[in-house]
């Protein structure tokens, strides 16, 4: 596969929601505000950010679960956001999604076997016998015993349910899986199992992942490239390792600073706690982070923010011209 053909790409993706108020005075929440992304085949692209930054909305827009206010979504070079549903249905098997809440993603009245078979039967992928054989194969791939297929979702633990969700996402042989906080609700020991499973599956099946998370450690563990979002915008993006080692944007620095580290020698490390909280409306004009930024200066209120290359940053982009 040519490395330069993105498997999925979004250009100037924007989603606005009406946030109360009537008529002409209604307020607008810019959940996603002009984002460009492209996912390369076989990579894991991570999106990190705090709640309300728009990371899940990006995932939903990519999957076609919501229509963007403006901007374009491409799958393998083909525009999909304005595609008729009948055509989109043919492409759907190629990109699948796994959610945080594995419990509510599984129909409680159906046996695991039926849950896994349903997408295959719906998309007419195979005959009855072939589907049953595939169910066994899927269960094995996600590390569940074959006996699991006759049981119901409530009989499984959180980690096992997430394995079933992954199996379901795999059932149609996707190329891209969007993982929206897939391990956030799990205990650490189970978290590690699922993260390792995802890595192994990726290698085995040559999958591309979009991994959305707020746990920085987990996102770093699986991702090769990362985008950091703040109030609907990407503030920094680049190679995962570089970005974590030498964050350029003050918000990235603050996020890394705030992440608890299980290392006693780092306990009293100097770090900056951000003022206030993200949320509500971004300050009008200028940099959306300026009212919390420890390095903010008067010009931040006036400048037009755009992602620019970080000097010596190996292709990294940052929205802060003052970042070190």
């Amino acid at each position: 596969m040519a490395h330069d053909t993105p498997i999925m790409e979004v250009r100037n993706l924007t989603k606005h929601y009406r946030a109360g108020g009537a008529g002409l005075r209604h307020a607008v929440t810019k959940a996603v505000d002009g984002i460009d992304l492209s996912l390369r085949a076989g990579e894991t692209f991570g999106i990190v950010g705090e709640s309300g930054c728009g990371k899940s909305t990006v995932a939903r827009l990519m999957m076609g679960l919501e229509a963007p206010t403006s901007g374009e979504v491409y799958f393998r070079g083909e525009r999909i956001d304005n595609m008729p549903e009948s055509r989109k249905r043919l492409l759907r098997p190629k990109f699948q999604m796994v959610f945080q809440d594995s419990g509510s993603s599984l129909n409680p009245r159906k046996r695991v076997m039926d849950i896994l078979a349903e997408p295959m039967l719906y998309h007419g992928k195979a005959g009855r016998a072939e589907v049953l054989r595939r169910v066994d194969e899927l269960l094995e791939q996600v590390g569940l015993p074959s006996a699991a297929k006759t049981r119901y979702p409530h009989e499984f633990s959180g980690g096992q349910k997430q394995r079933i969700c992954i199996a379901k996402a795999l059932s149609l042989g996707p190329e891209l899986i969007v993982l929206d906080e897939p391990v956030s609700a799990l205990d650490v020991s189970v978290q590690a199992q699922i993260l390792n499973l995802l890595k192994d599956l990726q290698e085995e099946l040559k999958l591309t992942y979009l991994f959305i998370g707020h746990g920085l450690g987990a996102v770093r563990y699986v991702s090769s490239r990362i985008a950091v979002m703040y109030m609907g915008k990407i503030v920094e993006t680049g190679g995962a390792d570089e970005l974590f080692r030498h964050p350029a944007h003050p918000y990235t620095q603050a996020l890394l600073d705030a992440a608890p580290v299980a290392d006693y020698s780092l306990r009293n490390r100097p770090r900056i706690a951000l003022r206030g909280e993200a949320g509500g409306m971004a300050p009008a004009g200028g940099c959306p982070f300026r009212d919390r930024c420890p390095h903010a200066r008067p010009v931040c209120a006036e400048m037009t923010v755009s992602l620019e290359p970080v000097p010596g940053g190996e292709g990294r982009l940052s929205a802060c011209p003052f970042g070190r």
Partner: protein
């Protein structure tokens, strides 16, 4: 200060009794932050709830003692416990949405508590409430007093909860996953706030958490729980740098860190926490333990060479070396 001794909590369903904790013992010293850490279902939260007699209806303390100021809290009549609850020992929860009454303003809720417990006049209570809200970092405290809980963000609600918990100047604050529902930048603010309040008021904090990172940042000492039992107790530095119990070791190497080398593979503990651990005899971690091979698997409390209690039959001999870690 507060001593939990051989605590056994059981849940009843019809005639069936399920023992959820098994001889849990630890004590909270004056002015310290003690972390009770473990995965969901290990019994850490019900242990905390039992201290204030807040167990759900089907739960009951069926053995052991909770000693505070010379009294056994498990045997105290409800009326006397009410004197301690909120005044001497108070509690904050993870579930900040459900811990505040949605139909009263923040001010109403705070003032009511103080008038009831401290006998303040309305004006006194109001002034104290505003001072407390300011101390927990709420900028515009007067305005916050007039707000309903749903109008506040998660971080703000937790600050309000902390302010309410502090109202009567408790000696011990029990914090059950106080930052779990919060974003990291807010989590850092709340962790720093709790530490500074501990320093200022000299209270002890019993911190219930599943997050080793939070433990590393906040706790002075740590008690690790697994399947209803305490498995290891140590000061934070020792626990993080020389974990003695195989479960603690596994837990530490299962956490992906922001400073990890790329390419590291996470250690994942095989299997899952046994669901029916209350019926188990012997070591409850044995079936997931990498060292179970040549181990008697009795699962009794032993002392590591440095004296700390560890529930591992191999701990006594060589400590960490015995596990080849």
């Amino acid at each position: 200060m507060l001593e939990i001794r051989d605590l056994e909590i059981s849940f009843f369903s019809g005639k069936k009794q399920t023992r959820r904790t098994d001889r849990v013992s630890f004590s909270v010293r004056p002015g310290e932050i003690l972390a009770l850490v473990g995965e969901s279902g290990c019994g850490k939260s019900i242990t905390a709830l039992s201290i204030l007699g807040l167990l759900p209806r089907q739960g009951r303390v069926t053995g052991g003692e909770i000693l505070y100021a010379g009294k056994n809290l498990t045997a105290l009549p409800e009326k006397e416990l009410d004197e301690i609850r909120g005044r001497e020992i108070s509690m904050i929860f993870q579930d900040i949405m459900y811990s505040l009454n949605p139909v009263f303003t923040v001010g109403n809720q705070m003032i009511e508590g103080m008038r009831r417990h401290l006998g303040y006049t309305k004006q006194q209570a109001k002034e104290k409430a505003i001072a407390l809200l300011k101390r927990t970092g709420i900028q515009n405290a007067e305005a916050a007093m007039r707000k309903y809980p749903h109008m506040l963000s998660g971080g703000m609600r937790q600050r309000v909860m902390i302010a309410m918990a502090l109202a009567c100047g408790p000696k011990i604050l029990i914090a059950d996953e106080p930052t779990t529902a919060l974003d990291v930048t807010i989590q850092l603010q709340i962790m720093q706030l709790l530490k500074s309040l501990r320093d200022e008021f000299g209270m002890s904090i019993l911190l219930i958490t599943h997050d080793i990172g939070v433990v590393a940042e906040m706790a002075d000492r740590v008690v690790v729980m697994y399947a209803g039992q305490c498995v290891e107790e140590a000061d934070t530095k020792t626990l993080l740098e020389q974990p003695a119990h195989p479960y603690t070791q596994a837990l530490l190497s299962a956490v992906p860190g922001v400073n990890d080398e790329p390419g590291r593979r996470l250690y994942s503990i095989p299997g899952a926490v046994p669901e029916t651990y209350h019926q188990m005899t012997g070591c409850r971690f044995a079936e997931r333990c990498p060292y179970a091979g040549n181990c008697p698997k009795k699962g009794e409390m032993k002392s590591a060479p440095d004296g700390r209690p560890v529930r591992c039959d191999l701990a006594e001999k060589k400590g960490r070396e015995a596990h080849g870690a």
